[in-house]
């Protein structure tokens, strides 16, 4: 059994894990860089260890420092959160070798599903619909051209080891492909250490819809409905909601079954997300994230589950507490990512928060590690809070979102709050009629 959890992360997700541990009566260990001494996760954990200087590479990405921190504090489990080492199979492996329970999937699952090309092959074998494209990486321009001609332009080049939108190139025609191929390869090499890229059919107006999955050690795998994540800029999600305005109960069932089938084929354990592209009533497997997601709270609000507690339960060998039988989402939930950034240029805006007032009232949840007088360090990502609103239907959720954003006061740094507020008045967003191109076309 787990008794003391070390959280190998920072910010709101580190705090989120601490909350779950507190409810379960587990001791917590926070690790932090020198820049995060005054962070809330450090303050609220039972113990804390400074593991290095501000740069992530020497602190939150330093496997040896984190394992050493677990050793000196006697922690028996590690929660990786999201980002940093969450999808590093080597980290999961070392944790296991050091007799620490890794609260997440097995190193094999992380390795298999973390490689986009391999994940695509696995999905294909499991009978999950995938976008037409190359079988594995294309190593030459000629090879990429041949595949592109057979599936038809437009196509997209993607880094096999990539994520977060880096190493992607859209090619409308053969000339585009000729100029983008080598650039995509060198970009992939620089960003991910592997030049492998593959070719895929490019959908012009898809929606990004993902299915939350969960597996336990007893071999039970469940799908917990979808999250609509089409509102993105530069492949970074801004707003997520569940249910999606376009997914019917029948489609939900089909997508859930496809996601479960894929997870069963790799004996997946713990929390994961299967991302699909959706266009014209068809869904296509895009990739799998082998971790808890930033937007997990949206699913929690419409399923009445605590996914982080569920992760810890499952890692301890306990069965999932998700009820058996028909699955339905209850009500509607929406998350707004409040980033410390210029809402127009999206330039990060670190600095001191001079005023911080969090909205409340029915159906409002704020996950944050920020507070008044907190100084947002420039070394890490710009997410400072997640505002999650819940209502009986989408209309009530939108109304709650508007009033919660109006009452969310952050002064001292620029935030994405005004942008979110403007999106909530956009007729196409209100109608639920949008694709991943929404932000390119949105003017305010």
């Amino acid at each position: 059994m787990i008794s003391k959890v070390l959280i190998a992360n920072r910010g709101e997700i580190a705090l989120r894990v601490i909350l779950a541990c507190k409810e379960m009566g587990l001791k917590t260990v926070a690790v932090h860089s020198e820049a995060d001494r005054d962070s809330l996760h450090v303050r609220y954990a039972d113990e804390d260890v400074c593991i290095g200087p501000a740069p992530s590479r020497q602190s939150y990405l330093s496997i040896s420092s984190i394992i050493a921190a677990a050793e000196i504090t006697g922690a028996d489990a590690i929660h990786p959160g999201y980002g940093f080492l969450a999808e590093n199979s080597h980290f999961a492996e070392i944790a296991g070798e050091c007799q620490l329970t890794f609260i997440g999937p097995s190193p094999e699952s992380i390795r298999l599903m973390g490689d986009k090309a391999k994940a695509r092959e696995t999905a294909k074998k499991a009978g999950v619909p995938i976008l037409p494209g190359s079988e594995g990486p294309t190593r030459t321009h000629a090879e990429a051209l041949e595949v592109s001609r057979s599936i038809g332009f437009p196509v997209i080049l993607k880094a096999a080891a990539g994520g977060g939108g880096r190493g992607m190139r859209i090619c409308a025609n053969e000339a585009d492909l000729a100029s983008a191929f080598e650039t995509a390869r060198s970009e992939a090499e620089r960003a991910f250490g592997s030049a492998d890229v593959y070719v895929e059919k490019y959908l012009e107006r898809p929606r990004h819809i993902e299915i939350q999955v969960f597996g336990d050690t007893q071999g039970r795998i469940v799908a917990l409905g979808e999250r609509e994540c089409s509102i993105q800029r530069r492949h970074q999600k801004l707003i997520e909601e569940s249910p999606s305005p376009v997914i019917t109960q029948e489609l939900r069932k089909q997508m859930g079954e496809a996601a479960v089938k894929l997870c069963e084929s790799v004996h997946y354990m713990n929390a994961g997300t299967i991302e699909f592209l959706f266009q014209d009533g068809q869904f296509y497997f895009m990739e799998m994230n082998t971790r808890i997601q930033v937007e997990h709270a949206v699913t929690e609000e419409v399923t009445a589950l605590d996914l982080v507690k569920e992760q810890i339960r499952v890692a301890s060998g306990l069965p999932l507490s998700v009820p058996h039988g028909d699955f339905h989402l209850r009500g509607h939930a929406m998350e707004f990512r409040i980033n410390a950034e210029d809402p127009v240029t999206f330039a990060p805006n670190p600095g001191k928060i001079r005023e911080f007032h969090v909205p409340g009232g029915p159906g409002v949840r704020v996950d944050t590690a920020a507070y008044r007088d907190y100084v947002i360090p420039p070394h890490y990502d710009s997410l400072i809070a997640k505002l999650v609103v819940r209502g009986k239907n989408r209309e009530e959720t939108l109304a709650r979102g508007r009033r919660a954003l109006d009452l969310f006061i952050i002064e001292g740094v620029k935030t994405s709050i005004p942008l979110h507020r403007a999106i909530l008045d956009e007729p196409r967003f209100i109608r639920g009629d949008f694709s991943t191109r929404f932000m390119e076309e949105f003017e305010w």
């Binding site: 020198e34 001494r37 303050r43 609220y44 954990a45 039972d46 113990e47 804390d48 260890v49 400074c50 593991i51 290095g52 200087p53 602190s59 040896s64 420092s65 394992i67 050493a68 921190a69 050793e71 000196i72 504090t73 006697g74 050091c98």
Partner: protein
């Protein structure tokens, strides 16, 4: 037991550094927890890092003593070169339990001289001096866990 007596008890508990005291008398049960109960293991040895705590705690003389000591250290450290830990791990003053410490207070050291070992992930990392001088102070105890950036030695140059 009246209110005044309870207050006196609380004072006594914190004064003597008692972790926990439970008294049952005429149907009333009183439990008093001292500061030590919540004191986190890491901070038990890093008294120079002030930590705010979300839990209301009984006043205890311990932190005050530590603070005073830390301030005293600040003064005596003036003009000294401080060597801090480059990694998280367990601090050892000698290569093995039988051998002599690498250095002791008063020893003259030069750059490259091994000062201690910090064990992390079963690896023994030798920490070398980066300066010429004389060891003025050794901060951690042998076998004590240390954080990144924690003070190890003060060197008089």
């Amino acid at each position: 037991m009246n209110f005044k007596e309870i207050l006196e008890l609380i004072d006594k508990v914190s004064e003597l550094g008692i972790a926990e005291l439970e008294i049952e008398q005429a149907g009333t049960r009183i439990r008093i927890q001292g500061q030590t109960h919540h004191a986190p293991a890491i901070h038990a040895w890093s008294g120079d890092l002030p930590r705010e705590t979300p839990f209301p705690q009984l006043p205890s003389p311990t932190p005050a003593t530590l603070t005073a000591k830390a301030e005293g250290e600040e003064e005596s450290e003036a003009g000294l070169h401080i060597i801090t830990s480059p990694i998280v791990g367990t601090f050892y003053r000698s290569a093995n339990p039988e051998s002599d410490p690498f250095v002791a207070v008063g020893d003259h050291i030069a750059p490259g001289k091994v000062l201690c070992i910090i064990e992390a992930m079963k690896l023994m990392n030798e920490i070398e001096s980066d300066i010429d001088g004389e060891i003025a102070k050794v901060y951690p105890q042998n076998g004590q866990p240390v954080e990144y950036g924690e003070k190890l030695f003060a060197v008089r140059t």
